[in-house]
Symmetry: C5
Subunit: 99 residues, 5 copies
């Protein structure tokens, strides 16, 4: 899984039918010090994530292992909202403090 | 999923039989400011996308989760035509306005 | 899928049994102007492609969705021989003319 | 599979339900001389790995082939803790000696 | 599939149970002129490959389509030992001659 920040949304009305009701988020990867990295990906939302939240996303066939994305043509999904992460014994990000 | 612009088409008559009837599009990725990025991919079309449209495409096994691509040797599919996207509260692309 | 040119072949006698009879091709990717790009991949042949032909190949689990590669440990397959491609309304490659 | 060192952990309470109970590890890839490489990935833990251990992780659908990750939206899993590796006849890493 | 040379081995005793008995090889990719490329991957062995042999490996779900790796958390497998390869009509590698 990859750490990323939700930075936006994508809207599409003309799409494969099974995608109806799915929300598409624009994600930008972050490094372990919370800095945004270049590049971005569009992921379906399985957990009600909102703009500015730090999340984990999964890709490939694993992106279809949620109730919302099962059997849909979706190759990236936000499957967790991050509370905090820790590296070498140091808390690097804490939700509500570092946002 | 990845944001891309349809820039062309590929024609093939000698191919795996199950691919009969599928349309192959040349896609070029775009950044969040609508600029074309280098590199390109060939994707099957599941939604009737045309040249110059902004689309989302999915890759891997997820590219087979559409009615048109099911069980076919296809690893990239256009599964949505984009209406608009928004980053940090700002509309960055709006179909019909920014084309 | 990726556009590539067949530039060679690989022979192996000691291999997973299910691969018996499959032909392995050396593929080099091409850009939209038909120039060879660095790097290469080995793909199974599902369509009778020969050296010097322009082809499309698919990767991942999609590479097993052909009659010849079904259930085999094969992660790249040539699934189409290209007749022509067109970008921005201009024919960039036409088989038999640009070879 | 990829050689990596466990350098941290990620905590999430709001996540896809099926992920309940899974531990997320921050992994940094290492080269064959045990040096940390830039970049990192978040992987589920299937073997009880701890911070500072050298491990192997698998990605994609293979990351769901463990008892703990089966059918979950998880695209990277630690599936082995490494005892040692050897290159060109020379032991490059030995657990308990090179940590 | 990717051309690579077996350069070493990895040993692990604490691992997902289903991996018992699988041998892990350190592979380094080679270019078409047999030069080692930077970077490496750890792959399961399905064909009895040994150090110094040139092999093909497959990744992703295709890595589980061998008798030894079926349903195991393994994302790379050596599925063929290479006898020779040929590019533009010239034999570039021949086992027993170029080793």
């Amino acid at each position: 899984m990859i750490l990323a920040k939700v930075v936006g949304t994508v809207v599409s009305t003309r799409k494969e039918e099974s995608l109806e009701g799915l929300k598409f988020l624009v994600l930008q990867q972050v490094d372990l010090d919370k800095n945004l990295k270049p590049g971005f990906v569009i992921a379906a939302d399985a957990v009600g994530a909102g703009v500015d939240e730090m999340v984990l996303y999964a890709t490939g066939s694993s992106a279809r292992q949620t109730i919302k994305t099962d059997k849909r043509p979706c190759d990236a999904v936000v499957m967790a909202i991050v509370d905090n992460w820790e590296v070498d014994g140091e808390i690097k990000y804490k939700k509500g403090v570092d946002d």
